[in-house]
Symmetry: C2
Subunit: 199 residues, 2 copies
């Protein structure tokens, strides 16, 4: 398969292709790296990406970050930043992908553990991940051309433990290899409308 991975150079992006790259052609894209440059927040940039890539059998998106901070101090602007960066970026790619991915192909988004194992300062991230997971579940029942759509919801990655120090007390970090298998399941399997958890 020819798999477009948006955010391929990030921590989750690298985990996502850990296994898939052994058997498939990875077309990499990112804001500052990869074969193709894309601003996922910009509809025109996303459309140009798909045009530049040619035929694609599967799309994986791993981009974006929620806002981390105490809910009692959170401003609407901070909340919106998480929505814009992670949710709208992934949705921009997903909605464009529905028009461009080959018949029977798949779209895989990336949510995360914060909406199923709550942490302090995680209300925005939980909300963003909930929006991604529920989009996938709802969109799945009306996907055209035998397309499938799923999300991978990884726990705290081993490689991210230092970055998020103190935010995830008691969370068992997950190895990149296991996260990679979840994306393999989404792309090579037959699941549709599923949130594939990695804990």
């Amino acid at each position: 398969m020819r798999i477009l991975v948006v955010g391929s150079e990030g921590t989750v992006g690298q985990a996502a292709i850990f296994d898939l790259r052994k058997r498939h052609e990875i077309v990499s894209a990112g804001r500052n790296s990869g074969q193709h440059r894309v601003d996922v927040m910009d509809e025109a940039s996303v459309a140009a990406l798909f045009k530049a890539c040619g035929a694609i059998d599967a799309v994986i998106v791993t981009t974006g970050h929620g806002h981390f901070g105490p809910v009692a101090e959170m401003t609407p602007s901070q909340y919106r930043k998480g929505i814009d960066d992670k949710l709208m970026g992934q949705i921009n790619v997903a909605l464009t992908a529905i028009r461009h991915v080959g018949d029977g192909g798949s779209i895989t988004l990336t949510s995360g553990v914060t909406n199923r194992d709550h942490i302090r300062s995680g209300a925005n991230a939980a909300s963003v991940n909930g929006a991604i997971d529920e989009f996938v579940r709802a969109a799945a029942i009306e996907m055209p051309r035998d397309l499938r759509i799923n999300s991978v919801s990884p726990g705290l990655l081993e490689a991210s433990v230092k970055k998020y120090e103190g935010f995830f007390p008691g969370h068992a970090p997950v190895p990149a290899e296991r996260v990679g298998l979840a994306y393999t399941k989404a792309v090579e399997g037959a699941l549709n409308g599923q949130v594939i958890k990695v804990d």
Copy 2:
């Protein structure tokens, strides 16, 4: 109790106060009606509302609509409209309410059935409702001053059957009285971080 109801003149707003108004003082607010006018999309307008209302023991928000339309034809702009209108409006009120509601008070948001009983053309609404429900679940664990936060997730209201004709095949409409009881449970009960379903 003194309960601020934002969106009080809407179908869900009227249902929300069906029972509570018998025992409490309802302070009504809305875009075009109610004792106070507010644009929930505008932070400054929401802040002004709370200033104008004085002491409040509970806040209920029932405003906003998702975008309804086939996911294969949905544009990012249409998706964003649902995010802006329903999600950001409710979050604006919720984040402001955390600073203004009296100690031990409650905040009740409104999601809906589309993220737990999927319908065609409902991917945006499901996503928006998922974001609201997951915000509530995550925010609940770190609410200050013994505040509580919940969402009410009503099924298709009897009064909305005509408006949404064809969108909800097989959904049993719910009477306003039962929706009202869910808001009573959220306000008068002790629940925190719950999605109170009405089916």
